[in-house]
């Protein structure tokens, strides 16, 4: 909301500087977001006089003017047709900055003629659209006077961020009222003496409200015999100052009064209102209507219409119709001042996607008690400015009077909420200055407050407490740097996420954070049904991610394109699906949401280790990371199984991470299809698992197991096996048959070659044997080894390699 500092002073006396007022307004919750001072904007613009105009010697369309700025004369090359000697104009000195485009005026040579300064058009001054001709001032302008003083009266405009609870401050009187409350000054509301004549309005117009819930009050007044033309300069300047384009006298008055009182008005050409009748009714489903902006609007039976005897003429509170608009031939005007229900206007405005100055105010709530006064104010101004004839009386349909809100207020609650005691006199004083009527009751410290109708936000005691402290000053509340806290009973141990992050930081990974909204094709690879956004911002954000991997692959591509080729990445984040998945919770409807951990490896294993410089990551690096991580979180009975899925095509040869037969994650090399669709040519290894799995088994209780008393014995064995025999089978056989001495089986080599024969491989393992009772003897060791060798032979056809 733009508020003019000069305009405010019509309603309240201000002796403070504008920046002090801006600061105080901010500190009572009317945040002044920016301040534009005309003195600043038009610093180097002065009233000038064109002393002489002659043809430019080298250009037909240009003239060379002598301009006096009151003190000195400047030679200026001008391209405007309407420039003439004797004119008072706005002169921009060299060095000034043009408000409309931010360009700096320089002394330049134009076709061999030096030009020092500029004669401005309305457009350049940012006060109108005309950029063809120069802006000619009236003859009383004195050369040398600052333009900001001459034209704007050195006005300042505040841009105030009005919060949705303060519709009363969407007007100059509303802001002035708060200023009056801070400084304990009188608020001056304009007197509205209307000179009425001729017929009674009631004989000319009938108003019928069909739905009083949507329209509790509707006032109509008629002014006749007016001539449409521009509004006076002072009104145009005020409107321009706050960013409203002047149109004509009628429209300007309705806008002016709206900015004065906060009450939106609509002006109909009364001659275009059929049957001298206004009917306020809900639209029929599918009914169409053409608004002022020449767009056809399709309505529902929730939208309120203003109609004449035959047809709709406006969408209530949102926008008028083309069919009854004020035009150059208008002589008779019907002024509508109404109170439309906030919910009604809001629904219509949202349905149409149309927000106007009018709908913005109605949906926040205007003052239902000033409806008639504001209509009077508007016709009074039109009468003053155009000399029209105001018909006697007004039609005011107000079937159910809106009763003032009463709130009981216990003054001790101020301290309970704020932690500061404010005297009853002060509290009462503040409330009264804000227009709240305060009455004593039987009970001590309990008052009955009557809320003014312009403050729909004040409904409860707490609302009044806020009003009190808002004016009293938040800065006066003490800063209590202590609290009595009860020791929280619930779980405060560090989240699993922190532990996972620490692990990955130690392991040299970069954490990344990706958008949860992805394009639809990202989810095609995961085989899960994606949750879709109803109103996506663009085609790249239509779905919620069903997996972290696609987003992470985007990051891989982004980095590869910038030459960052060696990546170890991890992300912890939520994934979503219409189907339940492991680790997911279903909070809302059939949407499933869970926390996921994604891991990516690509490029060189370790570029900072020169001995490994050229070693590229491979599958076993990824598997090792997964195994180490799960080991860290005490998950040792995990099974890694080859996992075939027709729907999840993220990975070729996927290994599933299974716990108790349930798939909780997967990893492998990203499939060529996926990499192709992400435009990645490098090999990328990816893993994803649900965080719930880690949380479930994260061992909090730690317990000591006695370390072995007797030394372990190590034996290395190599078996020649068929290619088809998996290492996992070999290890299982060794473990089963090495009991009870076998402690550890470690893989250390696989060899293929001529000596072994085709279709065969030699697998070497290291065994650790140990007894908790004694030091092992040679026969015991040999016995166990022999047992193992025999079992491998019998079960797997393996031969001990000697």
């Amino acid at each position: 909301m733009n508020i003019s500092f000069n305009w405010l002073q019509d309603y309240v006396k201000i002796q403070e500087s504008y920046y002090e007022i801006a600061d105080r307004l901010t500190m009572i919750g009317l945040e002044v977001e920016s301040v534009r001072s005309t003195k600043e904007i038009y610093k180097d613009f002065v009233v000038g006089k064109v002393c002489d105009v002659r043809q430019h010697p080298n250009a037909d369309r240009l003239t060379v003017c002598e301009v006096s700025d009151g003190k000195t004369k400047h030679t200026v090359v001008c391209g405007a047709r309407n420039v003439a000697a004797g004119q008072k104009i706005v002169f921009a000195r060299v060095g000034s900055v043009v408000p409309s485009n931010g360009m700096k005026v320089r002394a330049v040579e134009i076709r061999g003629q030096l030009s020092s300064g500029m004669i401005c058009s309305e457009y350049e001054l940012d006060i109108g659209d005309d950029h063809e001709g120069i802006f000619v001032l009236s003859d009383d302008a004195k050369p040398g006077d600052l333009f900001s003083q001459y034209y704007w009266d050195d006005d300042v405009v505040f841009e105030i961020g009005i919060t949705p609870n303060r519709p009363d401050c969407l007007s100059h009187i509303g802001v002035a009222r708060d200023i009056a409350a801070i400084y304990k000054r009188q608020l001056r509301i304009p007197e509205i003496p209307v000179k009425e004549s001729g017929k009674s309005v009631k004989s000319l117009l009938s108003i019928d409200i069909k739905d009083a819930d949507h329209c509790p009050r509707y006032v109509g007044r008629i002014i006749d015999g007016i001539k449409i033309g521009p509004s006076p300069d002072w009104m145009q300047r005020r409107l321009k100052m706050i960013g409203i384009r002047p149109i004509n006298i009628v429209v300007d008055v309705t806008n002016y009064v709206m900015m004065e009182y906060g009450q939106p008005l609509h002006a109909f050409d009364f001659n275009l209102i059929d049957g001298n009748k206004i009917i306020v009714r809900l639209a029929n489903d599918g009914e169409t209507f053409v608004t002022l902006d020449e767009k056809e609007r399709k309505l529902t039976n929730n939208n309120l219409l203003i109609c004449d005897a035959k047809r709709p003429v406006a969408i209530a509170g949102v926008m008028g119709g083309l069919n009854s608009e004020i035009n150059n031939g208008t002589t008779s005007v019907l002024i509508e001042s109404a109170y439309f229900a906030p919910f009604s206007v809001r629904r219509t405005s949202r349905h149409l996607g149309l927000v106007s100055e009018s709908s913005y105010r109605f949906e926040r709530g205007v003052d239902p008690l000033q409806t008639a006064d504001v209509a009077d104010r508007a016709v009074r101004l039109m009468q003053q400015l155009t000399g029209g004839n105001v018909y006697r009386g007004r039609v005011d349909i107000y079937p159910n009077k809106i009763k003032p809100v009463r709130v009981s207020f216990r003054s001790n609650q101020v301290e309970r909420v704020l932690g500061i005691s404010i005297s009853a006199v002060t509290v009462k004083g503040i409330l009264k200055r804000l227009g709240v009527e305060v009455k004593e009751t039987q009970k001590r410290n309990e008052w009955r407050c009557v809320i003014p109708a312009y403050r729909p936000d004040l409904e409860r005691e707490i609302d009044l407490i806020e009003e009190v402290v808002r004016i009293y000053g938040y800065d006066k509340i003490p800063v209590q740097e202590r609290a009595s806290i009860r020791f929280i009973e619930d779980d405060v141990r560090p989240g699993i996420q922190d532990r996972i992050r620490e692990w990955f930081v130690g392991a040299g990974f970069n954490e990344i954070v990706c958008n949860s909204m992805v394009p639809g094709n990202c989810n095609a690879f995961t085989g899960r049904t994606a949750v879709q956004v109803n109103n996506p911002q663009n085609q790249d954000m239509t779905d919620l991610r069903t997996s972290l991997i696609p987003g992470m692959l985007n990051v891989v591509r982004h980095n590869l394109n910038r030459g960052n080729e060696n990546l170890r990445l991890y992300e912890i984040g939520h994934i979503f699906s219409r189907d339940a998945f492991h680790g997911s919770t279903n909070y809302i409807n059939d949407y499933h949401e869970g926390e996921s951990l994604g891991i990516i490896l690509t490029g060189s294993r370790n570029p900072d280790d020169w001995s490994l410089k050229d070693a590229e990551f491979d599958f076993f690096d990824l598997k090792g990371e997964v195994e180490s991580l799960l080991g860290k979180f005490s998950l040792d009975n995990i099974e890694y199984n080859i996992y075939h899925s027709t729907s999840n095509t993220l990975i070729d040869d996927t290994i599933g991470i299974e716990y108790q037969g349930v798939l909780r994650g997967y990893f492998g090399k990203a499939s060529n299809d996926v990499l192709k669709s992400f435009d990645i040519e490098n090999k990328v290894y990816v893993a994803e698992m649900d965080v719930a799995l880690l949380r479930e088994f994260f061992r909090v209780e730690k317990k000591y197991n006695e370390v072995p008393k007797y030394p372990p014995v190590h034996r290395d064995l190599a078996f020649i096996l068929d290619e088809a025999v998996s290492y996992r089978n070999l290890e299982r056989i060794i473990r089963e048959n090495g009991r009870p001495l076998i402690q550890k089986v470690s893989f250390f080599d696989v060899y293929r070659g001529e000596k072994i024969g085709s279709g065969k491989k030699s697998v070497a393992v290291a065994l650790e044997l140990l007894s908790n009772e004694k030091t092992l003897t040679q026969p015991e060791i040999d016995n166990t080894v022999a047992q193992i060798v025999r079992a491998v032979e019998q079960n797997l056809g393996g031969v001990l390699r000697s």
């Binding site: 800065d475 970069n510 370790n606």
Partner: protein, 338 residues
């Protein structure tokens, strides 16, 4: 001893030092010549018995001997040390070690961790909630009535009639209060979504940290104290702050907290748009309607709530001027946050 023997000894020294190649050899050299009972000192002893007329020349020569011995020793010593550091058994020890890559937490996580630590020390526990919410938790229970313009303050991504992507972490307040009785002292970090045009200053999702305290006797004064303490710990003890009235449906009275710009110390700079102040969080006393929605009695308890954007604070803190860079995850940026 005569002049000649002194000069011969000097020559011997020079020859002998050539054969020194190890620290041990050098030590032998030192023991032979440079210690108190070494050859050099012994020859000096001979000066006493020399003829008076020979003494000046002889003394000069002896001095030359001593200086030469010491110089040769020093030179050799430093030469050997250099060899020692540069190479042993043909290895250049100045080559860098085999380093491991340095892992990082995302800047957003780091900022959040720092904030969390401060609040944990003040007795707050951490609570989390879903990112898909419904109208009840995200709006209605937080005192956003249907058809109220306050809903326009947050542009929402909808999934269907009632489900949406949470626009703030405040629904977690509702979940926490519906799950347990007062006292409550929780912080609630998490990801939120707003349907706002993406630019250098805003993104369609970001992260918030919300706080909630509910108990008997909780006042606005305590809220101010809590947040002032946070600001001092997080932004530095010299930070100045101001609480301004504002509006949020779920708190009343509501406030915004500004801190003096820590980049220019309040003098005015590009980041604070010359104002000297930075808006960092919104806060207020929990609105009685919120207590009613979760089944608390507003006559029995009071509470405060606050919320701040983590991403924006991280940008300010680390001097990153485009929010989109946080989600591009260029490792050249990430690796600066070790």
């Amino acid at each position: 001893m005569n002049l000649k023997s002194v000069y011969e000894t000097i020559e011997t020294l020079k020859a002998e030092i050539q054969t020194v190649s190890t620290k041990e050899d050098l030590e032998q050299f030192r023991l032979k010549y440079l210690v108190r009972k070494g050859i050099v000192q012994q020859m000096f002893e001979g000066l006493k018995t020399a003829a008076p007329e020979e003494r000046p020349l002889l003394g000069k020569a002896l001095n030359e001997l001593r200086q030469t011995a010491q110089r040769l020793f020093d030179e050799k010593k430093s030469q050997l040390e250099q060899v020692q550091t540069a190479s042993k058994g043909g290895i250049d020890l100045t080559i860098p070690g085999r380093r491991r890559p340095i892992g990082t937490k995302h800047p957003i996580t780091q900022a959040l961790d720092d904030m969390t630590d401060i609040f944990k020390a003040m007795g707050f526990a951490v609570a989390l909630g879903p990112e898909i919410e419904d109208d009840f938790h995200n709006f209605e229970a937080l005192n956003f009535p249907p058809d109220h313009p306050a809903r326009d303050m947050q542009d929402t991504f909808f999934l269907d009639e009632t489900a949406l992507l949470r626009t703030h972490t405040s629904p977690v307040q509702i979940r926490v209060m519906m799950n347990q009785k007062p006292p409550i002292r929780h912080i609630m970090p998490g990801r939120v979504y707003r349907n706002e045009a993406i630019s250098a200053r805003s993104y369609c999702m970001f992260h918030q940290l919300e706080g909630l305290a509910v108990d008997e006797n909780i006042t606005f004064a305590e809220l101010k104290g809590t947040l002032a303490t946070f600001a001092k710990k997080f932004f530095g003890s010299n930070v100045r702050y101001v609480f301004r009235p504002s509006f949020f449906p779920f708190t009343e009275p509501s406030a915004e907290m500004d801190i003096s710009c820590f980049l220019c110390n309040g003098k005015g700079c590009r980041v604070c748009k010359q104002s000297g102040w930075l808006e960092i969080l919104g806060c207020g006393m929990v609105d009685p309607n919120v207590f009613k929605a979760v089944g608390y009695d507003p006559e029995e308890v009071t509470g405060y709530a606050f919320g701040m954007g983590i991403d924006r604070t991280a940008l300010l803190l680390y001097g990153i001027d485009d929010i989109r860079m946080l989600y591009e995850n260029d490792t050249r940026l990430l690796n600066q946050f070790t």
